[in-house]
């Protein structure tokens, strides 16, 4: 198994503590059984179709459309969260206002609330016939959110909200205020201080939050599936395509979509990581 190729060198520094063999052995065994072996099965499976079969499986119009939809909606949602997450982190750290602690606590709700619960809540809230928000939107602006890609984006914004806030918040808290004071003393306007002094310090954390929110949103299922409407070529997300393939016992086709999702998010995260390093070096 893959785990056996992991370096298992004995502790370099001499220590009297016991239990390295036992805990390390158990960790590698459990990791292999629960995570690595199943993921190897995923990566190996699609190739029984051959390279051509793999390409055919993921370029089938409905599958390709679902992958495109999942990645696009995830990018838009992560971008929305990048903007509002930064704003929320800023007001939570820098301003004092009534209800601040409650607001801070509410940010974590998407982590704790089961996705299916969020999913039916959004579908109900934005229902054009009876929803608190859906009905007025339909009647005043003739806008329908539920069962369209914009509904998917809203659910994904919910799912990704904590990531940007919780990435930026601690960095902002630790930020040295002296530099800002210095900038102000030297005559910088507050927006100049923000752009030239504060933002560069926040950028790496901001990127990280964006990347985490995006990664989470690409594969999201429970909160999306109820509001998406799931119309082929229009609002079917990639995870739903996997489930459909599985239901027709097309394991290889399902794995091909899964591998493509993993591969594409890996590449995007790698790109973000490189961009982050590039920014950090400047």
């Amino acid at each position: 198994m893959t785990a056996l190729t992991l370096p298992r060198a004995a502790p370099r520094r001499h220590t009297v503590l016991p239990g390295f063999g036992l805990t390390m052995g158990f960790t590698l065994f459990y990791l292999s059984m629960v995570v690595l072996l199943p993921l190897v099965a995923l990566i190996v499976r699609p190739w029984e179709l051959g390279w051509d079969g793999f390409i055919k499986a993921v370029s089938e119009p409905a599958v390709y459309a679902s992958l495109r939809l999942s990645f696009l909606t995830a990018l838009i949602a992560a971008a929305v969260n990048a903007v509002f997450g930064l704003l929320l982190a800023w007001i939570l750290v820098r301003y004092r206002f009534p209800g601040r602690r409650l607001l801070d606590a509410a940010i974590d709700l998407p982590f704790a609330l089961p996705t299916a619960v969020a999913g039916i809540a959004f579908a109900t809230l934005y229902s054009p016939r009876s929803g608190w928000l859906g009905q007025p939107l339909k009647e005043t602006f003739d806008l329908i959110v539920a069962f369209t890609p914009s509904g998917i984006v809203i659910a994904l914004v919910f799912i990704g909200l904590p990531f940007v806030v919780r990435s930026v918040q601690p960095v902002l808290e630790d930020l040295d205020r002296d530099q800002e004071d210095a900038a102000a003393t030297l005559g910088a306007r507050s927006w100049q201080t923000f752009l030239r002094v504060i933002m560069p310090a926040l950028l790496p954390a901001w990127f990280t939050g964006f990347a985490l929110a995006f990664a989470r949103a690409v594969g999201e299922y429970g909160s999306v599936i109820f509001i998406a409407g799931n119309r082929p070529l229009y609002s079917e997300i990639a995870p739903l395509k996997i489930i459909q393939k599985l239901e027709s016992y097309d394991y290889a086709g399902a794995s091909a979509i899964g591998v493509t999702m993993l591969g594409a998010s890996f590449l995007i995260l790698l790109a973000i990581n490189l961009a982050q390093r590039w920014v950090a070096r400047r």
Binding site: P7, T23, L42, L103, A105, P114, A121, T124, L161, Y251
Partner: protein, 279 residues
């Protein structure tokens, strides 16, 4: 001068209002919807929806699955944190990255990988079938998928915490003649108990609320392989909206309790926990 001060205050107020409006729209309104819909048809309908046999079976299954998955990941998390935090070895970074891996896998893919191993056309499926063992479409599969999605929670809470604390106290205990287990239970465990509880809370919330992964491996057999989130889906798709939200409100209640307990821990033991989360 005063004009600029007023402009500044207005700017601040505007930012706060935008933030509050955004969180209300994205987080608080959906939460309010859950409880509003759950009690729309009155208390008696709510009580009936959460006490009918299929609902009770789903609650039982959810509790059973969490009661298996959470302790397994606690044992793993403690073992992994001990090996990683107390010893130096090559490949540590790789190991930590691998432990975090399940966080970046789609819930549906998390279910799919177990179907590929144990499903009817999976690697070990036919052999298991010949032996009469059923993993997919049974409780075993649900537990496996839940273990996968909750895999990193305890470990990633404990690793930085134990790294921060170092090895001196344990080394002293061992030098004074305590056994390894004794050292762990009377020196290490008291030091990490709040971090551990924190990890358990988050792990449990995810275990009880997981939907996508469980949905793939469950088979949706009413009264047998339906967890609470799956039961919510079935009721919702049957147009029993009030019933679906009744069961959903129990899960939302769990989420609120988890958040409050988490806040309590952060408030009471914030210093100890913050050290861990800075990494």
């Amino acid at each position: 001068m005063t004009a600029s001060l007023i402009a500044r205050a207005a700017f601040r107020t505007a930012l706060v209002l935008i933030g509050v409006a955004f969180v209300t729209l994205v987080v608080l309104l959906p939460l309010a919807t859950v409880f509003e819909e759950a009690f729309r048809k009155g208390w008696s309908y709510f009580a009936e929806a959460v006490s009918e046999p299929d609902a009770v079976a789903s609650i039982r299954l959810t509790l059973i699955v969490a009661a298996i998955a959470v302790p397994l990941n606690v044992i793993f998390g403690v073992a992994a944190a001990w090996a990683i935090a107390k010893f130096e070895f090559r490949g540590k970074g790789v190991l930590i990255a691998l432990i975090d891996l399940p966080f970046s896998v789609s819930p549906v893919v998390s279910g799919l990988i177990y179907v590929l191993l144990y499903g009817a056309h999976g690697w070990f499926g036919p052999e298991l079938q010949a032996m009469g063992v059923k993993v997919i479409f049974s409780v075993v599969g649900i537990v496996l998928a839940t273990v996968f999605v909750t895999f990193p929670f305890v470990a990633r809470e404990l690793i930085p915490l134990m790294q921060e604390q170092g090895t001196q106290e344990e080394e002293a205990a061992i030098t004074l003649g305590a056994s390894g287990w004794r050292t762990f239970f009377s020196v290490t465990l008291p030091n990490i108990k709040w971090g551990l509880l924190y990890g358990v809370l988050l792990c449990n919330a995810r275990a009880m609320g997981e939907f996508g992964a469980v949905s793939v491996v469950s088979g949706h057999i009413r009264g047998q392989t339906n967890t609470m989130p799956l039961h919510v889906e079935i009721l919702y798709n049957d147009y029993d909206i009030a019933g679906a939200f009744a069961v959903a409100s129990l899960l939302a209640g769990l989420a609120l309790v988890t958040l409050i307990a988490k806040l309590g821990l952060e408030w009471r033991y914030g210093g100890e926990l913050a050290a861990a989360r800075k990494h």
